[in-house]
């Protein structure tokens, strides 16, 4: 791939990119580059989304009806495609968020249990 991740950079967990995209778009319409940048800055540079994954994901979400795309003009006066969250996308985001917190809790519990004999 294009960039070798630096030491502390994280690989995205499978299936979480969709959630991140939906989450990012909660603040308003954004174009592909902007979404990638937002995820990067909001994760304090820990997560970097490669365009090779970002665009397929955007188009897939659009196809499922969770996003809607329109051509517009960026702040930098550049023609760009803007993605917006649909109501179905909002619902999906809520579902994924629930699932995510459950998963975190479940994994957290498992990891917190001290192995027997170490008590």
């Amino acid at each position: 791939m294009a960039e070798i991740p630096e030491d502390r950079r994280l690989e995205l967990l499978q299936g979480t990119l969709d959630m991140l995209i939906l989450r990012t778009l909660q603040w308003g319409p954004q174009h592909g580059h902007g979404i990638g940048q937002a995820i990067r800055t909001q994760s304090d540079d820990l997560l970097r989304v490669e365009t090779g994954s970002l665009y397929p994901a955007l188009h897939r979400l659009e196809k499922r009806g969770w996003l809607k795309a329109e051509w517009g003009v960026s702040e930098a006066n550049q023609k760009a495609k803007f993605y917006r969250l649909t109501p179905a996308g909002k619902a999906q985001l809520a579902r994924e968020q629930d699932r995510w917190s459950l998963l975190v809790e479940a994994i957290g519990r498992v990891m917190k249990v001290a192995p027997a004999g170490e008590e």
Binding site: H31, G34, T51, Y55, P56, A76, A80
Partner: protein
């Protein structure tokens, strides 16, 4: 995907431009910014490649997802190979039976006839139910009357069945032939495939004898030899020219091989044929006049028939209850088969239902076992739709395999079923394996697959909120248990009905096979050695007597006799018999003379066939034409007409108009009753004439002391030496003649027993499956019981009782159903009297099967490891 592609290029250009601008704003050098943005973007080709997958149209995506589902299903079924094989096999049986039966039903009942405007064609039938004859056919005199009175039928065709000795195509043989007038083929609307058919020009005394071959005869006996046209063949005493070959069609009756014009049959020109009103041997067909309906034609012909009966009361005795039926030709061809085929279709449907319910059971049980797997999948985000799709994919794989095997299985079955159906409709003779097998198989598989995918309940949606891994193992809800048991009960009930029906047929078959015939069946060889009708007389007697002498000289031959009738094989050829009366016999006022069977035998006939002579003497060489007329009668004749037991030396005579002036004949002997018409013997009023006084034979009987079939070749040789053109055919022992006559009954019983056996097998698997499941779901319960001191025998008993309860409920439901069906079918089927027997038999078989099916789960229950079971939760 060109528009997607272009838009995406724009999008990427935008992305890079924005990226470059941002970098420049941050103060990077424009050229370096561009390179960095490009680098950051990564490999454009790879990105586009992954976009292709997103841009695929929806159906491609669905198809791929479905393919994925199928692959997953196959993998998951590999872990349950036993179950998958059982399910596929059961579905194969259900689908195969249905596809085969349906294919035959379609072709027999719904395929159009080849006859031109077949719906305008009617069949006219005369019946005499009082004489036990559904179709007496017509005499020429009757046909003339009906023809004269009819305006609604534009044209009539007539067909008389007659056997001819055919010389000219290979070995001399007797062919099944028909004699028709010139209007026949025009009325039937049939065409030749070769040459021409018989037309009006072939009628009348000046015409030349001509013959048309049926397609079946031409293709089987003559290998479609086109050079037969114009060939001269000997038909009996005449020489006829073959003028054509009929298209593949239904010559009437079905086994007809050759059709000749009237002039080819001297018999048809004789006074008896032309004048005698009761000389009935001709079938009548009509084509409706333009605008006329079958109802109108029927009304008109019924009136004409009634007038005819009033005019000639002597030809229509009241006891015969002569009737006339006018019906569309297609009904005549298919009606007898309709009921049987629909019954067969129902039986196949029942098998399919049983198979499906059983498969549903197995799948239900499997789904319950997989509940934990399903809830894990649900927890990981599989929606209900996805789970359903997964189940559907699995059942599609199973049903697809079942359909594939089923269609393979159906192909040989089509032959079997059509042979079976050919008894009832000649149309079944040329049924072929056709594509309907495929689409019926596929259709049934789809129905089953969809039904099966909806049988299991999915984990409820709140499972998503509590992804508690279902470590608890099997937990069977009461609802599931009840559903399983209901399926098992339904299977037992349906199998019970089929078993009963099969039981009835088997009982009837056993009864027939074990009926005492009164003949020596094993050692008597019957051979057809027919002489042409014209050879009647002194010459015929000489011929048969010389044949008798020469065959008796063969080593291994005990004795030889001649008759005009091979028991059972020739049933019906003499019609319902002739009326007769006897000296001193006072009939009750209004009673008709009894009908007797006329048989012609040579001296020694009774000894050869092993029929005991009860009183008097056998015929001998002195019973000649110029001596006193004598007869031998069966015991029933003696008892019925001479209640005082003094039949010997009294006289009897035929009173049927067919015999002309009554001629008394003295009774010189009484023999035991033998019923040569019916395989289940009843009392038979039979009157035997000596061959020398009624010189018409045709059948040779050889009593062999060794293997009767070893004599076929030498006997044929002797007769061919006497006359090279003499047919010698159908040599068989009486035992084999009887077996052949019983073959359709056997086939009947065999087909239905097959269905019943399949149903039984499936039901046993079903009961075993339900119990096995119930046992494994209750491992803990059994463990507790055993821990609390239950003995293992008690546990076994409990499971067996559970199996017996399912069977009992099923049998009760089945007998209610079977009893109801029996009462509906009762009046038409004398076999239903065997219902009680078969009900009992079926109940015993099913109960035994249920107990056997419970044994294995019971054994498992008794082997439950107490400690393991208690720890399991």
């Amino acid at each position: 995907m060109a528009p997607d592609r272009r838009a995406f290029d724009d999008e990427i250009r935008g992305h890079i431009a924005i990226s470059v601008k941002e970098r420049i704003e941050r103060g990077e050098d424009p050229e370096a910014a561009r390179l960095a943005a490009m680098k950051e973007f990564g490999n454009l080709l790879l990105t586009e490649e992954s976009m292709q997958a997103v841009w695929r149209p929806r159906w491609v995506e669905r198809a791929l997802a479905f393919g994925q589902d199928i692959r997953v299903a196959m993998r998951s079924l590999q872990h349950a190979r036993g179950l998958a094989a059982t399910v596929a096999l059961m579905l194969a049986l259900g689908i195969g039976a249905n596809a085969a039966v349906f294919s035959v039903v379609r072709q027999v009942l719904f395929r159009p006839l080849v006859n031109r405007d077949a719906d305008r064609l009617v069949y006219v039938r005369q019946g005499a139910p009082g004489l036990g004859s559904k179709n007496t056919t017509f005499s020429m005199a009757e046909i003339r009357d009906l023809r004269a009175a009819s305006t609604k039928l534009g044209a009539f065709g007539d067909f008389s069945t007659l056997d001819f000795t055919l010389v000219g195509f290979g070995e001399p043989r007797v062919v099944k032939a028909g004699v028709v007038s010139g209007s026949y083929f025009e009325v039937m609307g049939l065409k030749p495939v070769l040459g021409r058919l018989i037309g009006p020009a072939d009628d009348g005394p000046k015409a030349l004898p001509v013959a048309v071959l049926t397609h079946r005869f031409w293709s089987t006996a003559l290998q479609r030899d086109a050079s037969v046209i114009g060939k001269k063949v000997r038909l009996g005493s005449r020489v006829a020219t073959v003028v054509g070959v009929l298209e593949p069609s239904l010559p009437y009756p079905a086994d007809t091989e050759l059709i000749a014009n009237v002039i080819a049959s001297p018999h048809h020109l004789g006074a008896t044929m032309v004048e005698e009103r009761t000389h009935r041997m001709t079938e009548l067909f009509g084509r409706l006049a333009p605008g006329a309906t079958v109802e109108e034609a029927r009304a008109e012909l019924e009136a004409a028939h009634a007038a005819m009966m009033r005019q000639h009361p002597e030809a229509y005795p009241a006891s015969a209850r002569t009737t006339l039926v006018v019906r569309p030709f297609s009904d005549q061809v298919t009606a007898p088969a309709r009921k049987v085929l629909l019954m067969l279709l129902a039986a196949a449907g029942v098998v399919f239902a049983i198979a499906c319910s059983n498969v549903a059971n197995l799948i239900l049980a499997r789904t319950v076992r997989r509940e934990s797997e399903l809830s894990v999948r649900a927890a990981l985000g599989a929606g209900r739709g996805a789970l359903r799709r997964m189940l559907l994919a699995e059942s599609l794989v199973l049903c697809g395999a079942g359909a594939f095997l089923g269609v393979l299985l159906a192909q040989p079955l089509v032959g079997l079923v059509s042979r079976f159906a050919a008894r009832f409709s000649v149309r079944a003779l040329d049924v072929a394996v056709d594509p309907s097998l495929l689409w019926v198989g596929t259709g049934l598989a789809l129905v089953a697959a969809v039904a099966l995918a909806y049988v299991p309940r999915l984990p409820s949606s709140h499972a998503t909120a509590s992804p508690r891994p279902a470590v608890a193992g099997l937990r069977i809800t009461p609802g599931t248990g009840r559903r399983l048991q209901a399926f098992a009960v339904a299977q037992i009930a349906l199998s019970f009905v089929l078993l009963c029906a099969a039981g009835i047929l088997l009982a009837a078959l056993v009864e027939m096979q074990h009926a005492r015939t009164g003949y020596d069946l094993r050692q008597v060889l019957a051979v057809d050695v027919p002489l042409p009708i014209e050879a009647f007389g002194r010459k015929a007697v000489d011929f048969y007597e010389e044949a008798t002498r020469r065959v008796e000289a063969l080593p291994g031959v005990q004795r030889v006799a001649v008759s005009n009738f091979v028991p059972w094989r020739d049933a019906g050829i003499m019609g319902p018999g002739f009326r007769f009366t006897a000296e001193g016999y006072d009939k009750v006022a209004g009673e008709e003379d009894p009908h007797g069977r006329l048989r012609i035998v040579s001296p020694g006939f009774f000894a050869v066939l092993g029929v005991p002579l009860l009183a008097g003497r056998d015929f001998d060489a002195d019973d000649r034409a110029d001596h006193e007329a004598v007869v031998i009668v069966s015991e029933s004749v003696a008892r019925r007409l001479f209640p005082n037991g003094n039949a010997l030396d009294h006289s009897l005579w035929w009173t049927d108009p067919y015999f002309g002036k009554p001629k008394p004949r003295r009774i010189v002997g009484i023999v035991a009753d033998v019923d040569d018409e019916n395989v289940v013997p009843g009392p038979a009023l039979t009157i035997y004439h000596p061959l020398r006084q009624l010189p018409y034979g045709g059948r040779l009987f050889v009593h062999a002391s060794t293997d009767p079939y070893a004599l076929v070749a030498p006997v044929t040789k002797i007769i061919r030496e006497m006359n090279a053109d003499q047919p010698v055919e159908r040599a068989a022992t009486l035992a084999d003649v009887r077996a052949t006559v019983l073959a359709p009954e056997r086939l009947n019983a065999f087909v239905l027993s097959g269905f019943a056996a399949v149903a039984l097998l499936i039901a046993v698997v079903g009961v075993a499956g339900v119990l096995a499941f119930s046992v494994s779901a209750r491992t803990r319960e059994f463990g507790v019981r055993l821990a609390l001191g239950s003995s293992r025998a008690q546990v076994v008993r409990q499971v067996l009782v559970e199996g017996a309860v399912i069977a009992t409920v099923g049998i009760a439901a089945g007998s209610a159903l079977g009893g109801a069906l029996g009462r509906v079918a009762g009046p038409n089927h004398p076999e239903v009297r065997l219902l009680d027997w078969s009900l009992f038999g079926a109940a015993v078989v099913l109960m035994a099967a249920a107990v056997v099916a419970s044994l294995w789960p019971a054994a498992r229950a008794s082997r439950v490891d107490v400690v393991q079971a208690l720890r399991s939760e």
